[in-house]
Symmetry: C2
Subunit: 361 residues, 2 copies
């Protein structure tokens, strides 16, 4: 979906890397995160200041990662190896939970290597708190259902990872600068560049940040400098699109994105209503401090529910209507639900809406 | 060390990425490794054909990774989750071994998440083979000591990962195209671009390759496209330096590298001999099929031994002579040994040799 925007952006977002650049492993040995390119760190902070979606200054540490997937694992590692947790965990894996529906990659990434440090325990809402340590993942706005999510658990012995991949103005109202202990972001959902594999964490506690850095050091010896330099260029183009004078509307990424998303959601809702077979989440408008306007959420995914007795929505859509979705079962939810990407190219989205419209029970 | 070469190479190795390129997660959905950029796959095969250091065609699969560190872990995952191994492992972690001195990152990366799938067991030569499955890492030429290494174990129930990061003509004689089940390579040691975080594995077995892809999919959802596109450009410049007509000597990377390394090793040996305090490995010349000449190895690391009763070589060099090295203890060896990088910039290498020369007991 964002390709159109970046085609228009032209040279401002293009990167040239000579063969002799970015050779070394190191970016800044004076920084806790020694593999973070200083230019990228600067652009990340600048963008958060512009958008107002997260507190990124005042001693908060930036840890860069190979996408936020790697940072998620780095955070699990950092939290589960903290001295206060290992003291009480007594060698048992720390439970990792998230409230249903949760992002399907959380269980897969948590249990990939069957670690003795942490283990996926499923739905946070049904977690039996025995007084031991645990880690809750809070994804808000939520992947898959787009809702604004609060933590389900609140014990003092629990730790949290806040996945804020979708807390950008094209998807939801920016109501307040988030200010949690560990916050994850990714270029992929902010600007559309998924292939760049670049995410960042904002981390308050220095020792947690250090252990996250340690994880990334051992698992991939840092993060591609090429991706970092390109991400810096792209984020810079986004901020400049707003901050430089006389910038045309077409250079404002979040307004472009919001317009596209809003239009797609309108069309999706019309199609779903026309068929009478599906329902979609209903969102309340909220005031967005970035857009200075009251806006309804337009999430990156549609969490579609099959009505009318269809028990397996994914199979129904795939077998009968050639629509590929991801079943609710992967998200800890009922198979009546499916997750649908709202970020595909125009052509694909148009075909999807057409096929959906044609469905009659 | 390689910076000088790439400054000369100019535009041939420079990459331009427009903002609208490489947006998607996917590179080639028809390939088993769906996140491998086809251009990079082509250049990898072309380079192996040129150098003759590995069999990369005829159905062997290329799995790209965020450096060979990630591929090492992907290979551990793939081997330890194979149906034949899990059937006999009965839930116990598979022992992972490598003969001393081994690369210090193997134990760290193997045990990072305290996996129940595999566990570091140290020196392959002292491994007690109880008839169960195991994984042996064979790094040849060896990091840290530069020797050509054969596997220490040979049971039919064992698996091997061959780390061939240093099997390039600037470091060692290319005697035969390696043709093992799993072979790991990295751009870092081939062309010097460590910051690119890009490695590749050549894998014979389709199912092993699939599980390696699965590991990378879950841990980082693929590999930076920017790094892949740049690596393709750089490897292309290397091959073209040899294959295009009338190319000047200065565009031949491996000859540039070999000349530099050979000169550095000569100076290092002279310095070590002059002091009488140190010894270095002695290598026999071998015929290199790539250079069509008999050549002595000139490894990327010097495995230096303190003689004359110095028990802790690392401390001795650091505290008394301001030379930073890595102690032999990290490599499973005695503290009389240290590993020294031979790939630093000229200025740093010159200071190192000067300081070494000045040492008298």
């Amino acid at each position: 979906m964002y390709e159109k925007f970046w085609l228009e952006a032209g040279d401002a977002a293009a990167l040239i890397i000579p063969g002799s650049q970015a050779i070394s492993y190191f970016s800044d040995v004076t920084n806790l995160c020694w593999f973070l390119e200083p230019e990228l760190g600067g652009e990340i902070r600048r963008l958060h200041r512009l958008v107002g979606n997260a507190a990124a200054d005042d001693g908060r540490h930036i840890v860069v990662g190979t996408g936020s997937s790697q940072l998620f694992q780095a955070a699990l590692f950092a939290l589960s190896t903290s001295p206060e947790i290992t003291a009480v965990a007594a060698g048992r894996p720390i439970p990792v939970v998230s409230s249903v529906p949760y992002y399907s990659s959380y269980p897969a990434a948590t249990d990939l290597l069957r670690s003795s440090l942490f283990r996926w325990e499923g739905d946070a809402s049904s977690f039996e708190d025995s007084g031991g340590p645990y880690i809750e993942i809070v994804c808000s706005p939520s992947n898959p259902d787009g809702s604004v999510k609060a933590p389900a658990l609140s014990s003092s012995h629990g730790k949290r990872i806040h996945d804020l991949a979708y807390y950008w103005p094209q998807y939801t109202a920016i109501t307040t600068p988030a200010d949690h202990d560990i916050m994850l972001f990714t270029v992929s959902k902010c600007t559309g560049h998924a292939g760049i594999r670049l995410g960042w964490a904002l981390v308050k506690d220095e020792n947690v940040a250090k252990r996250m850095v340690k994880y990334i050091e051992v698992s991939t010896i840092g993060v591609s400098k090429d991706s970092q330099l390109r991400a810096a260029k792209i984020l810079k183009a986004v901020s400049s699109g707003y901050e430089l004078e006389e910038t045309a509307e077409s250079y404002k990424l979040f307004h472009f994105g919001w317009k596209m998303m809003n239009d797609r959601w309108r069309r999706l809702r019309e199609a779903a209503t026309a068929t009478g077979v599906f329902s979609l989440p209903v969102f309340q408008p909220e005031y967005c401090n970035f857009k200075n306007d009251s806006t309804s959420p337009s999430p990156a995914f549609a969490w579609l529910k099959c009505e009318g007795g269809i028990e397996d929505c994914e199979s129904f859509l795939r077998e009968n209507h050639k629509i590929l979705t991801r079943s609710g079962k992967h998200f800890g939810a009922h198979m009546k639900f499916v997750r649908i990407s709202m970020l595909d190219r125009d052509g694909t989205f148009n075909i999807f809406v057409e096929r959906l419209m044609s469905i009659k029970l």
